[in-house]
């Protein structure tokens, strides 16, 4: 199925991220590799074209504090306003990179052909390793996830004095859901949520560990240390789950015993 120009552009920009970061510049460079007739002349798509392809609201101080004057409106239309770079193109690139990370993780589990806990472990390790080439830009990427996607007028969450945690939670939840699904998890009801909460927590903690500043370690050492943490967290959460199940079974046994005693007493 043919993909749209923005989609092609995002895919072409993915290999450029380690060098050019999660920026509009990566997309600008990628536009030079678009197939004809979409190939623009050098130096590639302009900032305004990219802003049009991946729209986002102007930065908050520009929109929320006052109405635009006639001069500001004209400057905005001409692309010569003094506003800072809009985040739409970079955010779109982050989203595509995250989606590619999930595809890579799912592909790895299917390739290895393991399911259950072994599949979960393989997928988590692959997803952690996926971060390694862009480790230096990972903080920037996750910060971009929290940037407002709407104006304060259309979404009250844009008025929050701190970045909304929803995009980060959604990012972790998607990884957890894909992991659970592809590793054959068929939990039902509350267990469906518990299994995803467990996997999301493990990946979230692993990502935090990966982001924590440690100048003494190289990127590959940081990844290795995070993989060890993943194994530890998987093991601990599994033993905790067994304890809870054991406690549940014990409570059930106690309840049934009391019911049996009640019946024997003629109640």
């Amino acid at each position: 199925m043919a993909s749209s120009v923005p989609q092609q552009l995002l895919r072409l920009a993915l290999p450029l991220i380690p060098k050019s970061g999660f920026t509009a510049h990566s997309l600008q460079l990628a536009s030079l590799s678009l197939p004809a007739p979409h190939t623009p002349p050098a130096p590639g798509y302009t900032t305004h074209t990219l802003n049009g392809l991946f729209p986002s609201p102007p930065p908050l101080p520009y929109t929320s504090t006052h109405s635009l004057s006639r001069e500001e409106l004209k400057a905005d239309a001409q692309g010569s306003s003094l506003e800072t770079e809009r985040v739409g193109p970079a955010m779109a690139l982050v989203q595509e990179w995250l989606a590619e990370g999930r595809r890579d993780m799912v592909g790895r589990i299917r390739e290895v052909g393991v399911r259950g806990e072994a599949g979960v472990r393989e997928g988590l390790r692959q997803r952690v390793r996926y971060n390694e080439p862009v480790l230096g830009q990972l903080v920037q990427a996750l910060a971009l996830l929290g940037a407002p996607t709407t104006t304060a007028l259309s979404s009250p969450s844009a008025l929050l004095p701190f970045p909304s945690p929803a995009p980060h939670l959604s990012h972790v939840a998607r990884i957890a859901h894909d992991l659970a699904k592809v590793s054959g998890d068929e939990s039902q009801g509350a267990d469906w949520y518990l299994s995803r909460a467990r996997l999301g927590t493990i990946y979230g903690l692993a990502e935090l560990h990966l982001l924590s500043p440690s100048n003494a370690l190289t990127p590959s050492e940081r990844v290795e240390s995070t993989l060890e943490l993943v194994d530890t967290l998987l093991e601990r959460s599994r033993s905790m789950q067994k304890s809870v199940e054991g406690a549940g079974a014990f409570a059930e046994w106690v309840g049934k015993s009391w019911m049996g005693m009640g019946r024997s007493l003629g109640l």
Binding site: K181, E186, Q188, G189, A190, W192, Y193
Partner: protein, 267 residues
């Protein structure tokens, strides 16, 4: 006699809603009690019945060891979900499966609550009637457990709440007596039957039929609708309408069911 004719009339009216060709045959599974597979349990912690010949739901149930091989459906019908749905179609599919699984969970717990009370009483025939209806619901929840995984639908987040509420409603009405319990069954099954009916209509109206899982889902909804209406008939035959304040009790329970349906579709 008057009551029986009312039940038949209400049932016919309900059945007359979807479209004329679905009236020609009943899809329900009246007959001997189901036989259960020796292992496995549903999300309502009930047994999983074996498949019955010629019923659409059998595609998701284990075949009896001694039974002739069932009619083979394409694996696509029972193992994949359509990927070319519009967002509106996807939303509808998810709502249908999520709310139906929650509804079947509630129905199982209602009958479980009623059975817990009647099994301790002297009227064993009444306990058997409730057990028979409960056994039918076990098949429904077993099938929706499979459907929710197949179509990658998030189950309702209120699973534990519906478990408690269902059991409390069943046990509470059973404590009020046989007629109140049957009035509860009548009200619940009327709402569920109407709801299945509207879902069958929505599937016919909204969905393409090129993916084999959709016609199969529609047939299953028709089968379950007819099962629920049979339970409604059973409740009326067992004096549901002779309970004191029948109209008020029915209206309250039906309103509660409709509220639960509305919430479970979204949450």
């Amino acid at each position: 006699m008057a009551m029986r004719s009312f039940a038949s009339t209400s049932t016919l009216l309900l059945r007359a809603r979807p479209c004329t060709f679905t009236l020609l045959c009943r899809h329900h599974s009246s007959g001997p009690p189901p036989i259960f597979a020796p292992s496995g349990s549903t999300s309502a912690h009930t047994e999983i019945p074996y498949a019955e010949p010629n019923l659409a739901s059998s595609a998701y149930l284990p075949p009896q060891p001694s039974a002739p091989p069932p009619e083979q459906l394409s694996p696509e019908a029972t193992q994949s979900t359509p990927l070319d749905l519009t967002p509106e179609q996807r939303r509808l599919l998810e709502e249908i499966i999520r709310v139906d699984q929650a509804g079947e969970l509630g129905a199982n717990l209602i009958y479980q609550g009623q059975h817990a009370v009647f099994a301790r009483g002297k009227d064993k025939k009444l306990a058997d009637i409730v057990q028979h209806m409960w056994d039918g619901e076990k098949k429904h929840i077993a099938v929706f457990d499979k459907l929710i995984t197949q179509h990658d639908v998030r189950p309702t987040a209120l699973y534990p709440l519906w478990k408690v509420a269902g059991f409390a409603l069943g046990a509470g009405t059973a404590l009020l007596g046989k007629r109140a319990a049957m009035a509860c069954t009548e009200a619940v099954e009327t709402v569920i039957g109407e709801h299945y009916n509207s879902q069958v209509e929505a599937l016919l109206r909204t969905f393409p039929t090129n993916h084999p899982s959709i016609p199969l889902l529609r047939q299953i909804l028709q089968e379950f609708r007819d099962d629920e209406l049979e339970h409604l008939d059973t409740a009326v035959e067992n004096e549901s309408q002779m309970t004191p304040h029948h109209a008020l009790l029915s209206a309250l329970i039906a309103a509660g069911c409709r509220g639960a349906i509305g919430v479970s579709e979204r949450v």
